[in-house]
């Protein structure tokens, strides 16, 4: 039995940890609804990371572990953003886990 979340009147299947069941279902509204459930309001800074993760997945076919994300963000978006303090300030439940969920990706590979 899987759960669903409702985005713009449409149902999206999610797994028991809240990750989207089908990556290809994702629409930006999914991130907004998931964020609201976590009492977060998405800013442009959040979207930079979400979009970055989707691009990373597109290229490498995996959701990166947190320290890999941190390193890759630093390389792509600048050193001041490539540190865990900044990323945790945006995604308090864990930058890789929470941001990957918002981005519709599976749980990151290498998260322990």
């Amino acid at each position: 039995m899987s759960d669903t979340i409702e985005v713009d009147g449409k149902q999206f299947a999610v797994d028991e940890e809240g990750y989207l069941s089908n990556l290809n279902d994702w629409v930006p509204g999914v991130a907004g609804v998931m964020a609201a459930q976590d009492n977060l309001e998405l800013t442009e800074e959040h979207w930079d990371i979400i979009n970055f993760l989707r691009e990373y997945y597109e290229e490498y076919q995996i959701a990166p572990a947190v320290r890999v994300l941190t390193k890759a963000v630093g390389k792509k978006l600048g050193k001041e953003k490539g540190n865990s303090k900044y990323l945790y300030s945006l995604f308090p439940y864990g930058p890789a886990k929470q941001a990957c969920r918002f981005a519709g990706l599976p749980k990151p590979t290498g998260c322990v």
Partner: protein
């Protein structure tokens, strides 16, 4: 986290897609990378087929995990070896394989391709030096 750094070798001897071993091995390597050990990944026998360039799985409806090998550098895996004799028996050269880049964020030291084709004696030596060998 363990204080003693052990030498872990992941030994890959299976072709991709025909069985699940190759993908499972890659996931274990990426997960294991979080433990800060001395990791090397060895491709031997049909395992060398995992690294061929230009894999396109649309026609067989399976996930193409070939691009994921290129993240090994991001996961701080710096030692990737391929047995030369296995390549030669299959009519392959390093030209047929993907390149995996590595970069140290602090020192900005860059290596364009960490994939190293080595002879069998070196393969044996690396196996003998390892504390643990995980076989797939």
């Amino acid at each position: 986290m363990s204080e003693i750094v052990k030498k872990f070798m992941y030994l890959n001897r299976k072709a991709p897609y025909g069985t699940i071993y190759a993908w499972e091995a890659l996931e274990v390597v990426l997960i294991g990378a979080a433990f800060d050990q001395d990791v090397s990944v060895m491709f031997l026998d049909d395992g060398v087929y995992q690294l061929t360039k230009g894999q396109d799985t649309k026609g067989i409806g399976m996930k193409n995990f070939s691009p994921t090998f290129r993240t090994l550098g991001d996961y701080e895996v710096k030692k990737v070896y391929v047995d030369r004799a296995s390549l030669e028996a299959r009519g392959l050269t390093q030209e047929d394989l993907v390149a995996i880049a590595w970069e140290d964020m602090e020192t900005e030291e860059e290596v364009d391709n960490i994939v190293e084709v080595i002879d069998s004696a070196r393969v044996s030596a690396l196996m003998n030096e390892s504390d643990v060998v995980f076989s797939f």
